[in-house]
């Protein structure tokens, strides 16, 4: 049975910017283990000759011509923004003072 440590989950949560409680971290580490076990069963099969799949449909080369279509108005674009200023999305401080 594979498992992910509590610290592994904490790192993933950090990368995904998701805040988690201690009990959630512990609970998820065992749930991730179950998911990994389920996926691991695929590796038991002989898959030589099977191409890695990243899309459920066997499609290739879906493209669009280089044609401009109307965009949203700035008002529409900004309508869902928690904060805005000068027709721009306003976001909180990105980095603190330089060390």
């Amino acid at each position: 049975m594979s498992s992910l440590s509590r610290d592994d989950v904490a790192k993933l949560a950090g990368l995904a910017r998701i805040e988690m409680t201690e009990s959630e971290l512990v609970e998820l580490s065992s749930q991730f283990g179950m998911i990994l076990d389920a996926v691991a069963r695929v590796q038991e099969m002989d898959l030589s000759g099977v191409k890695a799949t990243s899309h459920p449909q066997p499609l290739e080369n879906i493209a669009r011509p280089d044609v401009v279509l109307p965009s949203l108005s700035p008002e529409e674009a900004l309508s869902g923004a928690p904060a805005q200023e000068e027709s721009r999305f306003r976001v909180p401080q990105i980095l603190g003072e330089a060390e």
């Binding site: 280089d66 700035p74 027709s87 401080q93």
Partner: protein
Amino acid sequence: MALPTYDEVIAQWDPVLGLEVHVELNTKSKMFCSCATEFGAEPNTQTCPVCLALPGALPVVNEKAIESTILIGLALNCKIAPYSRFARKNYFYPDMPKNFQISQYDEPICFDGYVDVEIDTEEGPKQFRIEIERVHMEEDTGKSLHVGGATGRIHGADYSLLDYNRAGIPLVEIVTKIVPGTGKYAPEFAKAYVAELRDILRGLKVSDVKMEQGSLRCDANVSLKPIGSDVLGTRSETKNVNSLRSVERAIRGEMIRHAELLNDGKKVKQETRHFQEDTGLTRSGRSKEQAEDYRYFPDPDLVPVTPSATWIEGLRATLPERPSLRRKRLKEEWSVPDKEMQAMINADVLDIVEATVLLGADPTKARTWWLGEISRIANDQNVAVADLSITPADVAELVALVAAGELTDKLARQVVEGVIAGEGKPSEVVAKRGIKVVNDDGALMAAIEKVCTEQAETAEKVRGGHLPAAGALIGAVMKETKGQADAAKVRELLLKHLGQG
């Protein structure tokens, strides 16, 4: 302790380079949506659910962007992958509203190419082959404006404002393999490489390649190893170097900075640095001590790109002549000296001179006009030569008028001014301004006789066989005829008049 000089650095250390160049393609619409890509549009006027990452939006790749990337790969002697995919590069930063950038990871569309560059050194011309690791497709990020704090920089800003017009503009990243062996010419070869790339991309017409507008940006990785060693040193990555000259300065500066640290027994920190145009130095940015974890995976919203061999070969057939070869060919065809050739390249008039020659103008005359009078006027007006209203056809017409004896060089300069001032084509300017060469022997003889009377002493010297004195008389006749006479004709008539013809 004083900084080591560049000569001291290269006496002890061997630089190793790695160059990443980002090119914004000049497609009309974005990479994965149909928003426009105009530079300088009002903020957030070129966005849609796809490039703003609104829920449920589905990206579809721009066919022209794929075509342009394949063209770039072919021009850089790359192999084109028969199967490649897009991947998500996951990171949190407000310039990417999706919290990932669509890029390519282990399956780039082009790989294994090279670019040959040549530089002029005091030891003569030197060639170097820069090998290309990969060329891949991705999308540009939005533009941030940092508000508050002392410097307008991101550090210490109170908050930031985001314009997503640029988010999703097609970007092609061209990555070199590790480049050892450039030795003391590392900064020059790097600059020559970026210049050659710029010329190739311009020739392909796939990008505006304006470094000052950010449509061509270079990140330079530099490390030093002791001469003779096989062990690579720790590298620094200098971001967004925005002119050819800066490429050279940034690499030279980093070589000196690394050498100073290493000479003091200190370590080079692996980090991102920012080039500062004013001082030519770099400033520490993000530390890379903690390896970044982008968790790349194939983008499930996009399907694989599998260009057919027919399509690729069709594109290969449309490749223009390689810029370095074209320069060599033109130099030979026009019999231009090295210095003049370089002057044309530096002034960026090669295309326009070639167009003029193709319209029938003599190469030397065409070059002289574009590099001389026209460049001078462009400089005075602080614009590019190509932005003036004078065209290759105008210059070809001008050269023809001079050759036919209908204009002197001096009169032709007035015509150039007229054309640039918007007075029309050269023939129209000639007609409107009443410019014409005085070739009428009678009028010329009258002027010659007048001058010979006024300067009787000088005329006597010429009559006595002292020919150099004729110069002053010819000058006076030209003045008398307001520059509308042909100097050769004046000389002929004058000498005849004074019994020396």
